[in-house]
């Protein structure tokens, strides 16, 4: 089974092996047998922010209106009050379900999902976060609380495969650093409607799985040119987009179930939900996936129709799209949507080019 992450010679040294062995011994010796976190090198690491894992809307308001000191004091005063689940909560539960299935089939494998809490919250707020994690019995053992500093640098250090946050700026920074990332949006109470036995992940195609090269053609030259272009280059694979590697990681885990004859009951299902139409521009997409050796369970070509109603039927634990227009459409009908701020789509809103305004240069700490 090939590794999900490249082996870094420097990374496999005696000191790290000692830490790993100590952790293994620690978790093995625990009376309350909880699963120990996997070796990061082999795991699919998903970093979630505190605001995506838990609902911190009220607390956020205190932070914005009264400042950080009042906010931290408030959190400390309510330390023993568990937070309510946030928008990434259903996804985390689904990841945990997949992990239990994987552990049953492959008890000695480190190829699992590893969920890391990645937050720029102050460590004192951390106590409430850990208490909340305990309350819901989530398998999140690793966390990084940066006390106000940007967590982006730490994403690489934790070998993150996917980063989810509510902060669009951080997500953009992560993507620029080559890490798959998306901004999550709240959408009301959907948890009851989602599957608790199968993780469902839906992806848009252009500028999410694939680069935005074709989307540039649509925006700058129109649909007709786009169709002609896609037909002409049908056999030329598209370049990869920011979420391609995450789909790849999901595929590797899926194949572990297939290898044990569990294809029909595989707890991971992937969907492509694209505005492309099957007849004119769909072939290139399917051929690209094939050339990458990637499978997607269901490819849905909407030929420009709204994505919301279809997603409502699928009920994914997360849906990735680069265009806010589609994110809003998905949200309106109760789908958990995550925006991938990548490519030409960011400069347009509903087909119109956004006026370039002078942006303040923000200090990046």
């Amino acid at each position: 089974m090939s590794e999900i992450k490249p082996t870094d010679q420097a990374a496999t040294n005696a000191g790290e092996e000692k830490d790993w062995a100590a952790a293994k011994a620690f978790f093995d010796s625990l009376k309350t047998k909880k699963p120990r976190p996997p070796k990061p090198q082999y795991a699919v690491t998903i970093a979630v922010s505190s605001r995506t894992l838990f609902n911190m809307v009220a607390e956020r308001k205190i932070y914005e209106e009264e400042g950080v000191e009042k906010y931290v004091t408030y959190q400390q005063e309510h330390e023993n009050q568990p937070l309510m689940p946030g928008v990434a909560f259903p996804l985390v539960k689904a990841l945990m379900t997949v992990n239990s299935r994987l552990r049953q089939l492959y008890p000695d494998s480190e190829e699992l999902f590893d969920i890391v809490l990645m937050t720029n919250n102050h460590a004192q707020v951390g106590v409430r976060l850990i208490n909340s994690i305990n309350h819901y019995d989530l398998t999140i053992e690793r966390f990084c609380m940066t006390g106000g500093k940007s967590p982006i640098g730490y994403l690489k250090a934790y070998m993150t495969n996917l980063y989810l946050s509510k902060d669009g700026e951080k997500v953009t920074e992560a993507i620029e650093e080559g890490i798959a990332a998306a901004t999550m949006f709240a959408c009301g109470d959907v948890e009851n409607q989602l599957s608790d036995t199968q993780l469902k992940v839906a992806f848009d195609g252009d500028a999410v799985l694939f680069s935005d090269e074709s989307e540039i053609i649509v925006k700058q030259h129109g649909l007709d040119t786009f169709f002609e272009h896609e037909k002409e280059f049908e056999n030329k694979p598209l370049a990869q987009g920011p979420l391609k590697c995450f789909l790849e990681a999901l595929g590797k885990l899926q194949r572990k179930f297939y290898a044990k004859n569990e294809r029909m009951t595989c707890p991971i299902r992937t969907y492509l939900v694209t505005a492309r139409s099957a007849a004119s521009s769909g072939a290139r997409v399917l051929k690209t996936l094939r050339s990458w050796g990637l499978e997607i369970d269901e490819a849905l070509f909407l030929a420009g129709a709204p994505k919301g109603p279809l997603l409502q039927k699928i009920r994914p634990h997360i849906f990735f799209d680069d265009q806010m227009f589609h994110i809003e459409g998905a949200k309106e009908l109760g789908t958990i949507a995550a925006h991938v701020p990548y490519g030409i789509g960011q400069k347009y809103h509903k087909g119109e080019l956004i006026e370039q305004t002078v942006k303040d240069v923000k200090d990046k700490k």
């Binding site: 990374a11 830490d19 620690f26 950080v68 460590a123 951390g126 690793r142």
Partner: protein, 284 residues
């Protein structure tokens, strides 16, 4: 026997109230450079330089807020060097404008005694064996983290990270360490280390509280290397009970610690025992 030399260029602190920190001269000035006999140029900067600068920033901020502040860092340079090098060390400190209050010259065998008699609150070295030796003798000691990335070094903020695996573990959990192969001597060493960490943590907590959450020249952190999240939470609360509200917390649970430490770039790493097991193995 040691010889203590006061630095005339630096205002002497009230040693009873200050946070007296002893730093080995091999950390402040690069010992590996070939020292030509009789040379007089200033010694080359060592690993502890950004630490020395950061300490200065903290002291300056404290004094700006309160000119009568006594809870300041008071640095003693501890040197085992030969006599001919003494004046060069003092001159180099002056050349770089280092905030060193006193110079302590003694033999290597007498170092521990010097640290004890000078009631040092923390002994800092880049050598883990020296740190462990001091800890075992009951001298509070910590590792001066070798900052590998010169571009990430911070000189305008002092960063102190405490390791929390032992602080946050219950007696029962520590008992379980025997099964991991640790000897009684080593386990006793952890208990002693925990005691000395507490003293220094209390002082850091008090100093940290002089500043607000944002813009503080002193940044404190906690890292657990192999333990679960509950041990980390327990360590957070224990430190809080000692008066130290850390700013940052990292729970590795077996994930590699170096990439994180290389990003955090602490100046001081307070080992609570198990970080550098090699040092302890050598002692048992």
């Amino acid at each position: 026997m040691d010889s203590m030399v006061r630095n005339p260029d630096v205002k002497q602190r009230d040693a009873a109230q200050a946070v007296v920190v002893a730093v080995s001269s091999d950390a402040i000035f690069d010992p590996e450079v070939e020292q030509v006999h009789g040379a007089t140029e200033p010694l080359r900067k060592g690993d502890a330089f950004s630490f020395m600068k950061a300490i200065q920033v903290v002291n300056e901020r404290l004094l700006t807020m309160n000119s009568d502040e006594t809870l300041l860092f008071d640095v003693i340079l501890l040197s085992n060097d030969s006599e001919e090098k003494h004046s060069r060390i003092i001159a180099s400190a002056k050349h770089y404008g280092l905030d060193i209050g006193r110079f302590c010259f003694c033999n290597k065998e007498d170092s521990i005694e010097s640290l004890q008699s000078n009631k040092v609150k923390l002994f800092l070295s880049t050598d883990t064996k020296d740190v462990c030796k001091a800890l075992q003798k009951g001298v509070p000691a910590a590792l001066l983290f070798r900052q590998t990335d010169p571009h990430h070094q911070t000189e305008d903020q002092l960063k102190v990270v405490f390791s929390g695996d032992v602080i946050g573990s219950s007696e029962e959990m520590l008992h379980g360490l025997r099964e991991q192969g640790f000897t009684e001597t080593q386990l006793q060493g952890f208990k002693t280390a925990k005691g000395s960490v507490k003293e220094f943590a209390v002082l850091m907590g008090e100093m940290r509280r002089r500043f607000g959450l944002e813009g503080s020249p002193l940044c404190t952190g906690l890292m657990t290397v192999w333990s679960s999240r509950d041990v980390c939470a327990s360590a957070l609360k224990t430190l809080r009970g000692w008066g130290l509200l850390v700013d940052e917390a990292f729970c590795m649970a077996g994930a590699p610690r170096s990439p994180i430490l290389n990003l955090v770039q602490p100046h001081i790493l307070c080992l609570d025992g198990l970080y550098h097991m090699e040092g302890f193995t050598a002692m048992s």
